[in-house]
Amino acid sequence: MLRIRGLTKRYRTGDLALKGIDLDVPDGQVMALIGPSGAGKSTVIRCINRLVEPTAGTIELNGTEIVALNSGNLRRMRRRMGMIFQEYALVERLSVMENVLSGRLGYVGFWQSFMRKFPQSDIDEAFRLLQRVGLDHMADKRADELSGGQRQRVGICRALIQNPELLLVDEPTASLDPKTSRQIMRLIRELCAERKLSAIINIHDVMLAQMFAERIVGLKLGEIVYDGPPDKLTPAVLTQIYGEEDWASTIRKADDDDAEEAVAVPEIAPAAPSIERDRLAGLT
């Protein structure tokens, strides 16, 4: 359970990015954070793992207060939160395996990580995760040899190998084509369900948010203006979040839902047949 109270961020430039946000994310909930550029979506996520220092407010993850932690405790706290990035943020010149294992850096000593001597259990888990996302044959490829969708899956593995309690996902699909976007969102959604993980997903694409999140929070100029289920996202609400626009074609209708899934499922199957198999095997 993530509890945010009165979260405020004022940047050094004087811009007030967040104006006292209150937000609770229960365990296992996949929540989408939508809103126009500059609304503060990224700031919210980065305040939670303190890549950005909050100006005021409290953030509590399963009973631990985050904002007041000293640097050693903050590092231990960050192990409990996996982050997935917009441009994947893989270390391009390291191999896929090294990128995945870098998710364990908080658990191993400096020399151990420097010599790449990770515990066998970490290596097993890395292979298991790579297999789960269909990339176990790519373990020794360099990250910059991969396509966008593949890179994002490696990014997902890096976050999951931390064995986190919460996923922070920052625009996971912004650099991906529509089909890959759906596959990635579906994967995140499935993995969250498998591991009873809660997730906060920043996302620009309202339709994707509606398809894959069970709760939507709309942010505008640093304030929450909508908090509710995806199907309550009416044109009026979108106008409130983003401003005046013709929203009719953006909002997903209930029967599109099934059509979408029916098309999407056979699409993914031939591309990555191992995913289906692994799912049946009940991995991860």
Partner: protein, 272 residues
């Protein structure tokens, strides 16, 4: 709509307006005047007879240089080996010292912007502003003549070069990769080795090999001031007017430099 567009007056466009154009012309005028004045000053202090004689002198010197004294080559292996050692050892020393300096000088990795960074930048400037020949001149008086003075001279001169290019490479890295490593709970040292080192590794290798390549050329002249290597022999041959030996040494130096360029090009290609 269409007729409106057609009826619109023709709008002229020029790269510069009148004022800017005039100032450009004025700039050229001043530049030319300065050139003519300086040419005249230099001309007054030049003995032109010598200059007109230069082609004949050059031809004469050239004639004395051929054929190169090939048999002399057996005495050159040792100095050329010394020269290579000076360049290589000097480069290694400079790399070892330049890495921490670059780390302190880069804005995004320095432990202290107000205190350590200016010191690191000063070391870089100091090292770069003094030519290796001058370093060698001073070191010969401090540690005595020989290869050791040459190594230290090359090392001191190269610190600035390597550190400057390296800290610029560090400042140009993609911060998001570093952020991603940090967000896993990695310590500062781990964030450096996983987030920063892989990103600057190609630049680092390229800079090191490039500097080694430069140092081979620089170390050939260090002998002129007594700091070991082939320059020592070259100096001796020139003062004794053994021009055929000089020409052989020039050929050997050219061959060495070509070899080093080839090696460094190969290495850089392999890394990137």
């Amino acid at each position: 709509m269409m007729s409106d567009a057609l009826a619109a007056p023709k709008r002229s466009w020029q790269r510069r307006d009148r004022k800017a154009q005039l100032s450009v012309w004025f700039g050229w005028l001043i530049g030319t005047a300065i050139f003519v004045y300086c040419f005249q000053k230099i001309s007054e202090t030049t003995i032109w007879a010598f200059v007109w004689d230069a082609p004949a002198q050059a031809a004469d010197l050239g004639a004395r240089m051929v054929p190169p004294a090939w048999s002399y080559i057996h005495q050159l292996w040792r100095p050329i080996w010394d020269t290579l050692n000076i360049a290589t050892m000097g480069t290694l020393i400079s790399i070892v010292l330049a890495v921490p300096i670059a780390y302190c000088a880069a804005r995004n990795t320095t432990p202290s912007v107000t205190f350590l960074r200016p010191i690191a930048l000063f070391i870089i400037v100091a090292s770069r502003s003094i030519n290796s020949l001058i370093w060698a001149l001073m070191l010969v008086t401090i540690v005595g003549p020989g290869v050791f003075a040459g190594i230290i001279a090359i090392g001191l001169r190269s610190i600035g070069f390597v550190a400057k290019l390296l800290y610029e490479a560090i400042e140009e890295i993609d911060e998001s990769q570093v952020e991603a490593v940090r967000s896993t709970g990695a310590s500062a040292a781990q964030t450096t080795t996983y987030g920063i080192v892989p990103q600057v590794m190609p630049a680092f290798a390229g800079i090191s090999v490039f500097r080694w390549d430069i140092n081979i050329r620089e170390s050939t002249v260090l002998g002129l001031v007594g700091a070991g290597g082939i320059g020592l022999e070259l100096n001796a041959a020139i003062t004794q007017l053994y021009w055929t030996q000089v020409s052989l040494m020039l050929l050997v130096i050219i061959a060495t430099v070509i070899l080093s360029e080839w090696v460094s090009a190969k290495v850089r290609h392999a890394i990137i």
